[in-house]
């Protein structure tokens, strides 16, 4: 557990989420660019590059968020979707 002030910890967690989001967008652009260069194998190249980068990025972000989480929320990092989720589709 990283001991630091509450607001610092929360700010750090927010930054991790923001950086993860930006990294995912960057990975998407890279995957599309590389897939574009090999059009005959577009879907395979896109899926390989994108998911190959996405999975380690998400895993790393989850790990960091867990390490920064207070004990009562350690198993449940701040998440994207509200508990209600999309109430109406």
């Amino acid at each position: 557990m990283i001991a630091c002030r509450g607001s610092q910890s929360q700010a750090l967690r927010i930054w991790i989420v923001v950086l993860t989001d930006l990294a995912v967008i960057g990975e998407l652009f890279l995957a599309m660019y590389l897939a574009h260069t090999r059009r005959e194998q577009f879907t395979a190249v896109f899926a390989g590059v994108f998911f190959g980068l996405l999975i380690p990025t998400i895993a790393l972000a989850k790990l960091l968020l867990r390490r920064l989480a207070p004990p009562e929320a350690s198993g449940d990092p701040p998440e994207a979707v509200s508990p209600e989720g999309p109430m109406i589709q």
Binding site: M1, A3, C4, R5, G6, S7, S9, Q10, A11, R13, I14, V17, D21, V24, I25, L28, M32, Y33, A35, H36, T37, R39, F42, T43, F46, A47, F50, A69, P70, P71, E72, A73, D76, P77, P78, E79, A80, V81, S82, P83, E84, G85, P86, M87, I88, Q89
Partner: protein, 376 residues
Amino acid sequence: MDWLYIIMPIAGVPIFWPGLVILGLGVGIIGGFFGMGGGWMVTPGLNILGFPMAFAIGTDITQMGGMSLISSMRHSRFGNIDYRLGVIMVVGTVAGFETGAQIIMWLERIGHVDLFVRLGYLVLLSLIAWLVFTDVSQMKKDLKIRKTAEGGAAEARGIQWHRTFQRLPLPPVVYFKTAGIRCSVWLPIAVSYFTGFLAGILGIGGGLIRMPALIYLVGVPTHVAVGTDLFEVAISSLYGAASYTYKGRTELVAAVIMMVGAAIGAQIGSITTKYVQGYGIRLFFGIAVVGCAVSIAMKLAAAAFLPLRFLFDLGAAILILGLVGILASIISARFVRGVQLELRAQRATEPAAPALESPDSQSAPETPQEKSRPSR
């Protein structure tokens, strides 16, 4: 920069793919904020970006399947899903969905799919707009009553149709434990068949109709209705994704691109509910729905008046993307302001001494489980 325009591998149409990220982001923000999946925005949005209608529906459903599965898994942790009711409703949902999807394939064969689906959307969006504006006017009336009558108004009785429907003597009659109701199994099957049909024909989850139907027609408590509805959305979307993929009408790459945008947008939208109160933004949402309906009407006009087709198409694209963009920007601005204020307030309340806090005293970032949705 030609790599920003790609020919979709299955649909075979050229698409400005960052537009998919923007659409997903906007839909995610709006959906996360208003508690909706936003399926009603995605199909017209994809169609306006250049997808043929059947591909727009298939791709929308695939994108929705992934998102709703995650949401319903989270709801199950809160015990909000009546699985017996959900499993019974799957029968109606799947049958209704397949009926809708078969009608779409038939309409595609005879060449009327665009017209039919757009007209369907016009009706649906008019209904949403009516609901939103009615809600806002009701809120204004309530405020007036509170101002004029002290001690509060008389308690509303609400709609009691479910009492009549629950008495239907069609066997088998089943008790649903989580929902706490007893009724004929044909009642939830009929409700789910109709909503599954809507899902199949319009590419929406059907929750807009299903959730109120579960409450008012079946008599399910609201929190169980929300959870069970999401379970049905996940089932119908995943079945729909498989069905449309089997029929070759799903663009998986586009669905993944949109999911990236939607996942990021949903974070912003759902967290912003903590910071925004009041009905002003809901009113704006109603206007956005009307704008969406107008853009679909413009697409219909483009098909009817061929000499002006380019102008109508351009106007429709600008209108829908502009509205989603403006609404998403307003919510994002509130999000940034809210986070800034919260962090500032937290710094102000913390002790000035730079002592390290013990983990127990750390103020946990408010997780969605802890925060309650403010009434807007």
